[in-house]
Structures are given as C-alpha cells and as structure tokens.
C-alpha cells in the first residue's frame, strides 16, 4: 500500500494506492495523517478505534471514512498511523465499511506536523482503478 499528497490551490490532496479498494482507502488515510506525523512509522499503536460506516456510493464512503478519522483524532487529540479497512456492498445495496485505526496521543515534539487536517471534501474525489491497482483520493481542507 502506498500513499502520496498532491497539489491543490489552498489545501492538500491525499491519494492512496492498493491492490484492492480497501487498501487504497488505507493508503488515503495514511496520507491524511502524514500531515500530522510525517512518518506514519513514528506513530505507536497505543489506542485502537473501531469504525463502522455506510454511504450511498464508494466515493461518498471514502469522504465519510476520512472525515470520521479526522474528527475522531481531533476530538480525542490523537494521531493515527495504522489502518485496517474492509468494504462490502455495492450494486443495489449501500456501501459499508468496517475498520480499525491505531494510534496514540499527538505529541508535537515527536510527530513532525505540517498542518492540521480539518475535513475531507468532494473535490478531486475519485475511487477507481488505474491499470491493475486501485486509487482512492480527494482534497483535504486544512
């Protein structure tokens, strides 16, 4: 699973890649939290949070997922570094996500932060395939 940031006017684009959509979601989550801790490996898995979500489409599910992580982290003062995602549904049903996120209290001394992610947006939103790999991306308001 890989991740990167991409350019956007005033904010930051986040993009995850993977061999499945779920892995690409995990990559996108990692890209979001690389704003708070540049090296996700520096985040200790001290706290684990479960996430259950539902949305009308796969793209909406990505926005809901990243927003859930961002607001959980903000409310509890956490930074996440490790993510598990499972995605079900589609077709005539809604899309569902079950996941876990592991992290620890944010420490400004140890986590090299650039800017605080505030919310995922529908801008440059895409969940799809590029050749043989999956891509999940959107712009994050900072």
């Amino acid at each position: 699973m890989e991740f990167e940031q991409f350019e956007h006017g005033a904010d930051v684009g986040v993009r995850g890649y993977g061999s499945t959509a779920a892995e690409a979601f995990e990559g996108a989550a990692r890209a979001v939290f690389s704003l708070l801790a540049e090296d996700p490996a520096s985040v200790r898995p001290a706290v684990e949070t479960r996430i259950e979500l539902e949305a009308a489409g796969r793209e909406e599910l990505l926005v809901a997922y990243l927003n859930e992580l961002i607001s959980l982290a903000d409310t509890k003062g956490l930074v996440f570094g490790d993510f598990d995602v499972e995605i079900r549904g589609g077709g005539k049903r809604t899309w569902q996500l079950s996941g876990k996120a592991r992290g620890e209290p944010f420490d400004p001394e140890r986590h090299a932060c650039t800017v605080q992610p505030k919310g995922a947006t529908y801008t440059a939103l895409r969940v799809g395939t590029e050749g043989r790999r999956w891509v999940a991306q959107c712009v994050v308001d900072v």
Binding site: G9, S71, G77, T114, Q116, G119
Partner: protein, 475 residues
Amino acid sequence: METAFREVEPNVWELPAEGPMRVAGRIYASRELVDALDEKVREQLANVAALPGIVGAAYAMPDAHWGYGFPIGGVAAFDPDAGGIVSAGGVGFDISCGVRAYTTGLHATEIAGKVEAIAHDLYRTVPAGVGWGGAVRLTLDELDQVLLGGARWAVESGWGDISELARVEENGCMKGADPSRVSRRARERQLNEVGTLGSGNHYLELQVVDEVFDAAAARAFGLASGELVVAIHCGSRGLGHQIGTDYLQRLLPLAGKYGIHLPDRELACVPIRSPEGQDYLGAMRAGINCALANRQVIGGLVRRVFARHFPAATLTLLYDVSHNTCKAEEHEVEGRKRVLYVHRKGATRAFGPGHAELPEEFRDVGQPVLIGGTMGTASFVLVGTAESERRAFSSSCHGAGRRMSRTAAKGLWQGRALIRELAEKGIVIKSHTAKGAAEEAPGAYKDVEEVAAVAEAAGLSRRVARVRPIACIKG
C-alpha cells in the same frame, strides 16, 4: 492570455449570463489578476450564478481563488422570496473565520529590543498548532452558552470589556444561533479549542503602521504612523469544520427533492425557507458565535502578555470582521429594499458611512475592513464605501489570496531558512512547525499591495493604512 471575462469598466470584468446562469458573473480585478486567475474560478462563478434566487450577479473579489463549490473571495446574495437558497459550500468550512485588530498606542521605538521577548511570550501564552489544549475547557452545556452568546459570552466570562462588543460584527452575538442543530461530534471537537489559534494560514501578528492613506479614517480608527497594532486571524476551529462537513453531507441528497441542479457536489444547498435550510442557518450562526468567542478569548490572552511587558499600555479593539458567513441583510435592489441572504466566502462585509450597524464613532467614516496579508509583506486596513453597496452588496476582499499550492511552496522554500531570512528583514517568526511556515511563505500569495489597490480602484473599499509585520506567531 484569452479570458472569458469582458472588461466593462476599469477593474470590473463580466462573465455574461449564458446557459443555466441566471445572472452574470462579475470579478473586480486588474488585468494582471484576471490573467493569473485559476480557470476553476470562472467555472465556479458560473455555477453559483445558476443557483435559484440569486440577485445581482455572482461576484468575485480581487483575491479570488479556487474554493469548494463557491470560489474563495466569492459573494452571492439570495432572495428568500424568490426561492433563494442557502449553501454550506457558500460559507466555507471555517465558519466565521476572520480578523480582529487592536491598537496599542505604543510606538515602534518603545518596543524595539523587546519584540523577541513579547513574541516568545505570545507563543507560550496563546495556544496554537496541533495538540495544544485551549485556555478554556468546557462541558457540553457550557459550550452551548458559547454558541448562543459569542463574544458576549467571552466578555461575561471575564475576557474583555462590554464596551468592546460594539466593535465586533453583530455586536459580538449572532442572533438566531441554534446549538441543538449542531451535532454532538461538532461540539465535542470544540470542548478544548475555545481560545486556540489553530494552524494553516491562521496567525497572531505584531504589526507597525507603515503608511497612512486616509488621515481622517486613520484618526477615527486610532491608527497612527509608526504605532504598534496586534492582529489575530482565526475562526471556529473544529466545530465550524464539523458543521460544514455534517451539513454538506445532509444537504447533498436533498437537491433532487427541491429541484436544484448541482453541477458540483460542494454547491450543496437548499431553499432558505425549508426546514433543512433553517437547520443549517441555526447551526452556522452557532458557528459564527464560536469564532467570535474564540477571537475574544485570544484577545484577552494577548492583553495578559502586554500587561507583563507594558503594564501602562492599553489595547483598544479596532474591529473584528468575519469573512466566511451567510447573513440576512437589507439591500437596495432596483430601487427597492429587500432582505437578502448574503454569502461571503473569503470576503469581508464592508458597510459604508451611515450604516445603522456601525458603532457611532465609525458611522461617519464607514466600517473598518481588515485584510490579512502575509507574514513577510504587509496587511491592510481599509474602510467600507457607499459605492461598495452597488458593487457587491457592501463586500470587499479578505486577504492576499494564495497563488501557489502548499505542495509547490514546500518545494520552493525551506522552513528554517525562510524563518532566518525573515529575521534578517526584522520579522520574528514563532512557528510550531517549520514545514508549515514554508507553506505560508510570502511568495506563495498574491501581491497584497495590488489586491488592496484594486479593491480601492474598483470601489469595494478604500485604503486607510498599511501595516507591516514585525512578529508572527503561527500554529
């Protein structure tokens, strides 16, 4: 460069109403600013111009750039009697983000040699950046009082004097706020964040008045050449963002129900006169009060710092403006007074002389319009004009406006080197993150001199004074 905009007057460009557009698009800018404009701004203005109930035109200020749904630096007014809408994207995520400025009566020569110490004290006293709890910790019930009372709540809690409220928009308290329309998650995000600066482009600056353009207005505002001003730029923090996110998600599926075509999901909107529209307005107004309280508390913290270094100095609130709002205001349209819901996203209200909303001492002059520039160049104080009413429902620009992405800025500047370079120019930077400082490099923004000059040339507001930063605290 070819542009779809047509110059109809100097510094006034129009995008004719075509296709689904109900009104024209209009941007106030010089040719240089228009040429440098992101293509997305044109597209977004055309989208806004197509929304139900829009009055006048879809406007863009000289500092316009690509936003979510609406352009940043965008102004659009909607008539509730004509099916007008309210849009979460038209307000923006950081509800009521704004600028507050204090005059100090201190001359630059009096603080020379003390700037580093004051900046350091401000950096330690005013929580900024990520992971710093606020000076105020609240329960959910107490937070609801903040959302109802705004800056008035802060003053009643000991953060400032009651006389200051007249110098805050809405007299410090936005009416019609409904905390019950704000999700628990949004409220929880704010419990430790009242009185925090945040990160990104938010700042706390010490500035020196460097040039006075309008002596009479400067006198009325208490601005004198060579004197120190303190400016605070921040908004409604996690709460505002969560309200924006919650309502974008809630309003999006309703477009079909109300027969609204949405070319872009972030335009999500509903009629003002709908239950969901009223819910959003109640929540958004609570967000405005959150931001007003936040800046009032930060002002109180700044006062504590000044009391330690200059016990005799008096910090006088110049004014507090919000630049991400939707407000019901009376405006004259085709000779008739109408109540319109004016969305200003990255745009500042700029009432001209005589407006009843202004405190008595500013009524002959007009409303102070506080424009945040960059940490290396300058900021401006402007004043609302009578002409601004017919230009863009009494609105002006809000800042320099970005011209370069954060990623590109990080590629061009290195945080620590930039901080050193600014120090050589006599500007002390205290930042919780060096990389964050690089993203805020002065070169990543448009030329604030030109933005302010064009705002004046186009009749949106008039320059009163330029202030230059001598210290900047960043999150």
